[in-house]
């Protein structure tokens, strides 16, 4: 038992309050004229983490990444990497490397020369450079393309060259700006796992910027959700998904049904909420820090909502409605139910059989319900 705890905190250093962070972002603000791109962000990232900065476009995630790489000056605050303050250190002297969204491969150089560029700049001798380039080319499986120029490669191959080029100097920190953005869906999935394997094999700390929540969920050890220049929640993927701390995070990650309500009973181990939007009472099987009669929101994910023709034997967490729309998506079927209160609820059902003869159809009167622990209460 003790061993499991030890192991857990070794692979999840953020759970250990004594662990030393590898990257320390302290009160960093970036202004472009009047526009605040990054607003007083503080964040600790630990060694060997694969940290994702997730957010919509213009949320400041790329600016934060570029400040770590040294391409943007910091208006105020500090960034420390491995105990070294990076203020005023130009990009070419930082222990970081970056993989650019556009890949930024040098069009006049072959794959080999592109990958070896960083080593040549550091004056690594020829034999050593050659050896490491070959090693890298093996790692990203580009053996037969070594002599080609970037424009003779496919998107996926270019992405690998960019990755190899940014890894060859064995940086302390690798920054990846939308690394999979330009790839098609299938290739993206494959590459995601490859990226994770490479990260694990080399033990380099990765910071990835992405707007794709699915990508963030699969890749990362932790996610930092950003909006309007601020980090609103940091946590492991399941924490972000199951325990969002705000309406914004709940709605940004995955899809969710949100019911506005008021606290009518606030006990140590449970809370009762009355929601007009749902047209009934919601029972939450854990305590929530809130005041009586406080306005709050209850968020429940579509896959956690049940659908039935017969009213479940409960008078909480149940609402009546009519099937408004059905979308068959292969693995799942998505239902949209219009509650009596006028609120629309989305829910999904796994398609366990190929044909369901007793399937619920359009316009049928149905009940939606969920368990005591299915949803989460958010107060803002």
């Amino acid at each position: 038992m003790a061993e499991t705890v030890m192991k857990q905190s070794a692979s999840r250093p953020w759970t250990d309050p004594n662990a030393e962070p590898f990257i320390r972002i302290k009160n960093v603000t970036k202004r472009f004229g009047d526009f605040v791109a990054v607003d007083n962000v503080s964040l600790d990232i630990y060694k060997k983490e694969l940290f994702c900065l997730l957010g919509g476009s213009g949320c400041g995630k790329s600016t934060l990444l570029r400040m770590m790489a040294g391409f943007e000056d910091i208006t105020s605050g500090t960034i420390e990497i491995d105990g070294q303050d990076q203020s005023g250190v130009p990009p070419y002297q930082r222990p970081t490397n970056m993989m650019f969204q556009s890949y930024a491969l040098f069009p006049h150089m072959t794959v080999e020369r592109n990958i070896g560029y960083g080593l040549r700049r550091d004056g690594v001798d020829r034999a050593e450079t050659e050896r490491r380039v070959v090693e890298m080319i093996e790692l990203v499986q580009l053996g037969q393309f070594a002599k080609r120029k970037p424009h003779q490669l496919s998107g996926g191959q270019r992405q690998r060259v960019a990755l190899a080029r940014s890894l060859i100097k064995r940086p302390k920190l690798l920054l990846l700006d939308e690394p999979l953005g330009a790839l098609d869906k299938k290739l993206r999935e494959e590459t995601q796992f490859e990226l994770m394997n490479i990260q694990e094999a080399l033990g380099i700390t990765f910071v990835v910027v992405t707007h794709d929540q699915e990508e963030a969920m699969t890749l990362s050890s932790r996610i930092g959700v950003m909006t309007a220049g601020e980090i609103v929640q940091v946590g492991e993927p399941h924490e972000i998904y199951e325990y969002p701390n705000s309406k914004f995070v709940a709605e940004f990650i995955g899809s969710v049904n949100m019911f506005e309500g008021r606290v009518i009973e606030d006990a140590e181990d449970h809370v009762r909420i009355h929601s007009d939007e749902m047209g009934g009472e919601i029972y939450v099987s854990h305590g929530v820090s809130c005041a009586p009669n406080q306005k709050l929101w209850y968020a429940v994910r579509p896959e956690k909502v049940r659908l039935s023709r017969i009213r479940p034997d409960s008078n909480v967490n149940v609402a009546r409605g009519k099937v408004d729309e059905i979308a068959y998506m292969g693995n799942l079927t998505l239902y949209r139910v219009l509650l009596d209160s006028g609120k629309q609820v989305r829910l999904t059902k796994s398609n366990l059989e190929r044909v369901d003869h007793d399937a619920i159809a359009w316009e049928e009167e149905v009940f939606v319900s969920w368990g005591d622990g299915a949803g989460v209460v958010v107060t803002s």
């Binding site: 970056m98 650019f100 040098f106 560029y117 960083g118 700049r121 080029r165």
Partner: protein
Amino acid sequence: MSAATRTANMIERVPPLRWTAGLLARLGFSGRGLVIAVPTVWLLVFFLIPFFVVAKISLSEAVIARPPYLPLFEWGEEGQLLITLNFGNYQFLLEDALYYLAYLNSIKIALISTVFTLLIGYPMAFYIARSSESRRNILLLLVVLPFWTSFLLRVYAWIGFFKANGVINNFLMSTGIISEPLVMLQTDFAVYVGIVYSYLPFMILPLYTNLVKLDGALLEAASDLGAKPIVTFFTVVLPLSIPGIVAGSMLVLIPAIGEFVIPALLGGPDTLMIGRVLWDEFFLNRDWPVASAVAIAMLIVLVIPIMLLRNAQGATEERA
């Protein structure tokens, strides 16, 4: 609807246009052929025909008459065609050192001027290309602004700077840096300044077009991988701007070799350039055949390196 279809529809609707189009089509002209025909005819009339006229004159013999050369083709007494080709003019070019010295000197002056134009123009083009878009337009306007004044006037203006009691000498003497006026006018130095000044926009514009396409992320990538700015320049910017350098240098080098106005106005009597020799042959010596031979020789001197260069460029593009 594309512009082409719209044009086609318009032609269909207007009867005179429709008839003309029908007639041309029956005669075997396509729209594309007609579009290309205009510049082709232009080049034929104003370039190829004059070229053959000059080539013809260069092979004839000079006489004091009007025109000052003997005809190339004559009808003999028995109605046969007599062709008298006189290669003496070309031979003369080789025999008299004046001509090949003038060629060599022209090439030397043009080459050195091109190098200086490149050294001055490159940073300017780079700066303009890296400026913000609104600023870029203003700077480009400033680059082409001199064209609004006559070329001749601009070269004349330099006389005012260079002459013994000109702007530069007056300034240097009034500040006490020199006590005697410097001799600048009628020297090779003045010719270099004149050429570099006049041809600078022709270097900046193609370089700018090339450099503005340079992806800023490449510079960041180089910096990220450990290249100091100067190293980034030599390993990334410079190699990628070679097409711009070649285009700009050609635009400066070629007209500079044949330049006449600048050496005539700013150069001294010993500034030997082929453009001046040509002018002297035509208008002072009135030896049209030799002058034509000089012109043809100059053309060959210019055309061969361009063709070699184009071939080399084509080969690198194919490899790339």
